[in-house]
């Protein structure tokens, strides 16, 4: 059975290779082939899942050593896989949502001449993401880590003729590279500390090392997670990444890749559990991003960017939860899965709206679309209810648990975190309601002559419907008997913690803040008409529209500074480094210009020097003998 693991990755990888190298001949069938292989992978995943369920909780993890990758003395890097409950969860999420989005893309990308290439990239992404979650050591994980980065780069920049897309792709890759640097340093520290970077070795020996090294590893892993999961301070790329086609935003920048950071921290729980201080940092990062993303989400008029802010904020929840330690890991993953469903659904909905609206993304030019796109409206609406945590839907179950866990952290910290998460829930309700109202309710604000809103074809609506089911049911299913927590417990361990507030109070307060958020949004966008041109807004709104000035900071400090640095270095290289050499050369030139006068061209003159030279040689020989 464990041989199937390699096949799981091989299927989409094969698809990518065939589609990317196949040339135009495959244009006609490329999308079907890509979808088929993604589905094959999903099928394999389900088979493995069934197999895993057949074993007892402690025997579920499967290891498969494929081959020795870099065999160098003292450095054992292997290609080996580890399929345990955590990986399994991800495999199913990735291949499941992935397959749905493949199907969706068939319709969405129908008119794009490079559809085959798009599917090739999507398959490549699936393979890399699966490698990331299945690797049994950090180096192989790093391969997947960069692989998804590459796929993300290629897909964000898929419409390369748009300079904005190309720039966004480059930005995403670069910011991710900063995170990758963290991961590679972490691996190097692991190697020097434990002599290995296999999960098993590291986690077994992590208790034997001192605070310093564990902290370094933890912080570096956190840096990596920040890069991939768009957490403060490396969050700036996610908004721009919406330049990619919408299915990409749904799959990569909402459901799967951006949650890799959560996976990394959860996977490395053994390390983080050792160092409280790092966990505190993780929690702070999560909390800050949670609010940051939510605030940004409130201000954006671009539907995808609003959703991107929301993604950032939701991942903030997850990161915060992972920072809580064993209290939170399981809930982080649970929120990750439910978020995968509803956020993918929301993005696909947004894509469907754009599809019907001539690729218009400005919500101020939507309005009243519920009549024109009923399926999209319903599925989007269900996703909306799920994300704001409407009782009974997926988001309610998972987010509520994280808020509880935050309180359960205990002490002042617990209270602060609880408050932050509650505040976040309120803002989430506010901005999602805003999106909903601006898009599907109110007056039509589009130009009726140019735009003819219509429902999307079946290939697009079916995945949305499936995801809507997930958004509605997943959370509830997971929470029956705490089945999800129990499922993950062997990997992540679990403790309830002791919350100062009872679960009921927490649930009640979440519902209250939810209502406040919805109410505020309705007061602003539901009661009165939405202006087509954005009002100037308050200072905070304007800052939030510019991603809270993060980009401006980057531009001034990093881009400008970097430009100056490189320009002055080019100058230095030309004048100073080269100049020293050229100066020497010029000096020699001048000297030889003088010596050249000795070359008068008369053979006899030269003969004299030869003769003198011979005399000197004889003298030297004689002297040497005398000595």
């Amino acid at each position: 059975m464990e041989n199937l693991i390699a096949l799981l990755i091989a299927a989409p990888l094969l698809g990518a290779a065939v589609l990317l190298c196949g040339g135009r001949r495959l244009d006609a069938v490329g999308h079907w082939l890509g979808t088929l292989l993604a589905a094959v992978s999903f099928g394999l995943g389900v088979a493995l899942f069934a197999d895993m369920l057949g074993r007892s909780a402690d025997n579920r993890a499967v290891h498969k050593h494929l081959f020795s990758w870099v065999p160098v003395e003292g450095f054992q890097a292997d290609v080996g896989f580890q399929l345990d409950q955590l990986s399994m969860t991800f495999v199913l999420l990735i291949t499941g949502v992935g397959t749905l989005i493949h199907i969706y893309s068939i319709g969405y990308m129908e008119h794009d001449e490079n559809r085959r290439r798009f599917f090739g990239y999507l398959n490549l992404f699936l393979a890399a993401m699966l490698l990331l979650v299945l690797a049994d050591n950090y180096l192989l994980l790093y391969v997947g880590w960069e692989g998804v980065g590459l796929a993300s780069y290629l897909l964000i920049g898929f419409w390369q003729h748009k300079p904005s897309a190309a720039t966004a792709a480059k930005k995403a890759f670069l910011v991710n590279r900063v995170g990758d640097m963290g991961l590679s340093i972490a691996i190097m520290v692991m190697f020097t500390t434990w002599g290995s970077f296999a999960f098993s070795t590291v986690f077994n020996q992590v208790g034997e090392t001192g605070w310093g090294r564990n902290t370094t590893v933890g912080l570096m892993l956190l840096l990596a997670a920040c890069g991939k999961s768009a957490q403060v301070p490396l969050q700036s790329w996610l908004g721009d990444a919406m330049e990619g086609p919408t299915p990409v935003s749904a799959l990569i920048h909402a459901a799967t890749m951006v949650t890799a950071g959560v996976y990394l921290i959860t996977r490395s729980g053994a390390i983080f559990n050792q160092v409280q201080d790092v966990q505190t940092v993780v929690v702070i990062v999560g909390a800050v991003t949670l609010l940051f993303g939510a605030i940004v989400g409130c201000a954006k008029d671009d539907i995808k960017k609003a959703l991107a802010g929301s993604t950032m904020s939701q991942i903030g929840y997850m990161i915060l939860a992972t920072g809580l330690g064993p209290i939170g890991y399981a809930f982080a993953i649970m929120h990750l899965v439910t978020h995968g469903f509803f956020k993918a659904g929301l993005f696909l909905g947004a894509g469907s709206v754009m599809h019907g609206m001539n690729d218009e993304v400005d919500m101020r030019k939507y309005g009243g679309l519920r009549k024109y796109m009923p399926v999209t409206f319903v599925t989007f609406g269900l996703g909306y209810l799920a994300i704001i945590g409407f009782p009974g839907l997926s988001g309610f179950w998972s987010k509520d648990k994280i808020i509880e866990a935050a309180f359960a952290k205990g002490g002042t910290e617990g209270w602060i975190l609880g408050a932050v998460t509650l505040l976040g829930a309120a803002i989430t309700a506010y901005y999602m309601t805003r999106v909903m109202l601006m898009t599907f309710f109110g007056e039509k604000r589009w130009n009726e002559e140019e735009t003819h809103p219509h429902e999307s074809p079946g290939t697009m609506t079916i995945p949305m419907i499936v995801l809507a089911f997930g958004s509605v049911l997943a959370g509830g299913l997971f929470s029956i008997n705490e089945s999800f927590v129990k499922w993950l417990e062997p990997v992540t361990s679990f403790s309830h913690g002791d919350s100062p507030v009872s679960a009921g109070v927490v649930t009640a307060s979440t519902i209250v803040v939810l209502l406040i958020g919805v109410g505020l949004a309705w007061a602003q966008y539901g009661r009165k008409p939405v202006p087509v041109v954005a009002p100037r807004g308050s200072l905070l709104t304007r800052a939030a529209r510019r991603d809270l000035l993060q980009d401006d900071f980057n531009h001034v400090v990093l881009v400008r500074g970097g430009e100056h640095l490189t320009r002055s270095l080019v100058y230095v290289d030309h004048t100073l480094v080269d100049g020293v050499v050229n100066g020497t050369a010029a000096g020699f030139g001048g000297l030889s210009g003088r010596l050249r006068k000795l070359q008068n061209g008369f053979a006899r003159s030269y003969a004299v020097s030869m003769f003198g030279g011979a005399a000197v040689l004889i003298a030297a020989t004689l002297l040497m003998r005398a000595v």
Binding site: L20, F67, S68, W69, V70, P71, V72, E73, G74, F75, L139, Y142, V143, W145, E146, G147, L150, Y153, G157, Q160, H161, K162, P163, A165, A166, T167, A169, K170, F173, L174, R177, V178, D180, M181, S184, I185, I187, M188, V189, F191, T192, T193, W194, G195, S196, Q205, E208, T209, R213, G562, L565, T566, R567, L569, V570, D573, V577, D578, V581, A585
Partner: protein, 523 residues
Amino acid sequence: MSFPLLTATAALPAVGAIATAAVPAERRTAAKWLALLVSLGTLALAAVQLVRFEPGGDRYQLTESHAWIKDFGVRYELGVDGIGVALIALTALLIPFIIVAGWHDADPLETHSSRWRPTQGFFALILAVEAMVVLSFEATDVFLFYILFEAMLIPMYFLIGGFGDRAHEHGDEAAATQRSYAAVKFLLYNLVGGLLMLAAVIGLYVVAGTFSLDEIAAARANGSLDMATNTERLLFLGFFFAFAVKAPLWPLHTWLPNAMGEATAPVAVLITAVVDKVGTFAMLRFCLQLFPEASKWATPVILVLAVISIIYGALLAVGQRDIKRLVAYASISHFGFIVMGIFAMTTQGQSGATLYMVNHGISTAALMLVAGFLISRRGSRLIADYGGVQKVAPLLAGTFLVGGLATLSLPGLAPFVSEFLVLVGTFSRYPAIGVIATLGIVLAALYVLVLYQRTMTGPVKAEVQGMPDLKVRELLVVAPLIAILVFLGVYPKPLTDIVNPAVQHTMSDVHKKDPKPVVEAAQ
């Protein structure tokens, strides 16, 4: 006596060079085919070497030894270790690609030009370089090595100075002037290095009384040859300086951007992927083996220089406006990694450095040759003259991207393995330097992606419109290189198996052991 395989591998291209040069001028195409056949034959011989080489066997294998200049104890001594055999394979592998890629580079110009372009000469010179490089990887006699080290400058000089890109933004004359400037700069830099090395070679002979690497190393190992500390250091510096110029290490690097910028792309590949490797190879073979103590003494300074090379090269690459110069600065950055790996004095570092030499050769060849195809289409080296190429020539853009990704060490492609090994190897002994060098991977992403973005993406420029995609000949060059990059990225074991024993030997030469993991050391 068994078949002198090593001599044959070097002699075949040498004879081929003469034969190619002798083909009459009007039969240009025949000369090209002859050169290609010879290079393929050399590749076959190199493959035989790989097969015959036993990783677990003696340190130097397939040895040959003949008296040459008896009075000075100079011998024609050849032998390969794992590192040598790998680099010979790299050289033999790249030359056919270089020849095919440069198929039309030396054709006579259609337009009136004062410069004569002897087609046969171009290919004969390439083969001559191959012969000398191969032999220098094989030489185990210091004097023999020195002669080859210097002699290969001559054909390189003519290749750089004699053959440039077809078009130049400032016209033919300006191009010729810049070319000869670059060629002279290349020659002078390397000659100065060679001169110091000559002094050190003579000094070594005076001290050791022989030129044989084996004998000296053995004498050093068993203590019968005891050098005074200062003598050893001076000799080491003499050798190292020459290799550092060739490698090239900051601040001796400025010849490389000029040379690579002015030469045609295949020649640029020849410089950076083949000839410069002799420098780093010689650091491993001669500096460490002959002067272990001095090497250790100089390590801190060299590592700092290497790190400066990495960061500085990458930063300058970001600031370049010329595609070829950008690749050149990227190479400087990569050579920094190689030198760092060598002098980190860890198994991982040195294995990584050796793999890096091979991988950098292939990845740079892929990137630079595609860049050359691009440049030959538009007739400009300036990045700003391109834009939107991806739309009109997707294959070209795609292969360019893969080459670029290899350059930025994307996992899954060969350079990643080596770069990571170098970083780990360095980090385990010098954490601070390892961390700073890691910055290089971010900067690498920056210069590669900026280059790709500016040339390939965005709206299609008017001049780029109608640019043809890769032709079959060009695809034949690029596709195998990419395949090798992928293969070695996923499964580098064949290479590491050959390299590992050699690295073990080098490590024992310098009396260094890998630092133990902290946990193990604590126990």
